[in-house]
Amino acid sequence: MVFSSLVFLYIFLPLCLAAYFISKQIKIRNIVLLIFSLVFYAWGEPVYILLMIATTAVDFFAGLFVEKYRGTKKSKLFLTLAVVLTLSSLGLFKYYDFFATTTNDLFAVHIPPLGVALPIGISFYTFQALTYVVDVYRDRVPVQTSFYKLLLYVSMFPQLIAGPIVRYSDVCEQLEVRTCTLQKAAQGIVRFCIGLLKKTVLANFAGELCEQLIGGDLSALSMLGAWVGILAYAFQIYFDFSGYSDMAIGLGKIFGFDFPENFRYPYVARSINDFWRRWHITLSTFFRDYVYIPMGGNRKRWAVNMLIVWLLTGLWHGASWNFVLWGLYYFVFLMIEKLWLGEKLDKLPAIVGHLYSLFVVLVGWVFFYFESLPEIKAFFIAAFGANGFSDVTQRTVIVNYIAILPVCAICAMPILPYLRKKLANLREKKSWRVLWSSGQTVFAAFALLISTAALVGSSYNPFLYFRF
């Protein structure tokens, strides 16, 4: 199930909320949340839910053994076993076919591909399960002795299928004690509505524009069409993905959880390094703490470690060569910034950094959007003007959709934090707080209405994470 569906909003969610708030006991609330989470997952993956439960079981028992044999070699053995088993399910379902076809092409052998669909959310929940067992080994979190609580952590529906990648250490205390207040619920509702609106309106309309410009034949693509198309894609993926994170964080708040932030207005970054501190934060911090630092970080073989991390980051987004290229592309820019450009950017006016980052990120999305090398090549040929600057049909499409671009651009800027900061200075003034509170109430009602209409009326409601 996805959040942006009528069945989720008007059947699943009311039932779940009613069942959850009937009891004040945390144990019953945990069980309610677990049952609903399993239903949520089974709705989309009626068979692969067993895989998720099995993955959790592996890490649960491994955690127990790691704790039991703490300080001995066996502890490390069980950790290794858990990591290998957990990653092998990811490897089998996500990467097996990719490596099979690649090997077949390279060595003229014939390894049969599995041809199975990727279980939804597998890239997210396997990483979450890993943070548990690794952190138990590192003695950073207490071992979990009840299976259902660990399963609740792994399967919790707000963050199950599209992030943020919540670490066990982020929520392990909240699994035992958490408070649900009216204040938190109201803030959660606003956050959820922001996300819903981003996904159902901004992302979907930007997606339509992108699809009409660069989704078809690239041989007639004009320069204008190419750049507007990839800009629209940049908006689509940002509002889709960050909207999902907003909905997750908002729902979490309603149920009393505090999830980590995942996006901080990435398109206003002043450098690529800055961009990656703002884009999909929980993924880059995961790679930092569970791959980069264990390999030695910047103390030994720094460049090699960086290369590995960015190859993996690319591959995480999909088992295909274009994602490897995408990861390498960012590796190159991060290295350039670290060795040379970074200091220079700091001295130049901010606008230079903004424009540079936007351009690099925009070009980066080309490697993300097109999955084959010939398409990427055709796009760049068009983007640098080989098929002419403009074309009448593409111009018509752009004019038709022209309103979405400025709206997206404004919404991608940190206007809310700016207002909030302004307001914090006026905290004592009652009238401002009334305005702020009523504004949010009106916004939430409006957003729910518009999003529902968009869901009812729209036949175009794609889910981008089938590859993750």
């Binding site: 009528l6 950073r140 207490p142 524009l209 964080i249 932030e261 109430t441």
Partner: protein
């Protein structure tokens, strides 16, 4: 294994919270009456539409789109395990959603603003005399005397 699990004492470890920043820490509080109103509106809308959608299932035809609406899919073991029940149910639910025509209207207005074109592309061609004719009623055609 449960016994074994119980034997392990939970060590008291200071939990290090280390990923990202906590969600919106400096958020000014929403004044209580507004928070209550918001919760009432949001949860109220979910529940009211839930109840209407569950009990009001008479509609089978969309007059504005001139087509039969999707029907409730049959629940069988195979349709459940291959996921087709869920997909069909979502289509059925969207088709029979309360205030569908009004919400469609709102969506079209919004579509006009953002895309300049109407996206109601659900035109269904039917053959004459087909049982899927308008509203399932018999229609006499002018040239059919």
């Amino acid at each position: 294994m449960v016994q074994f699990a119980k034997k392990i004492k939970k060590p008291e470890v200071l939990v290090q919270s280390n990923s990202g920043t906590p969600a919106q820490s400096a958020q000014p509080a929403i004044l209580k009456p507004f928070a209550a109103l918001m919760a009432l509106l949001f949860f109220g809308t979910l529940f009211v539409l839930f109840f209407i959608s569950i009990f009001d299932t008479d509609k089978t035809v969309s007059e504005t789109e001139n087509r039969n609406l999707a029907t409730m899919p049959a629940l069988t073991a195979s349709s459940l395990f291959d996921g087709s029940f869920m997909t069909d149910f979502e289509t059925y639910y969207a088709d029979t959603f309360p205030f569908r025509d009004e919400l469609m209207q709102l969506h079209n207005t919004m579509s006009d603003f953002f895309s300049g074109t109407r996206t109601s592309d659900d035109i269904v061609l039917v053959e004459r005399g087909n049982e899927n004719d308008f509203a399932g009623q018999d229609i006499t055609y002018d040239d059919e005397e």
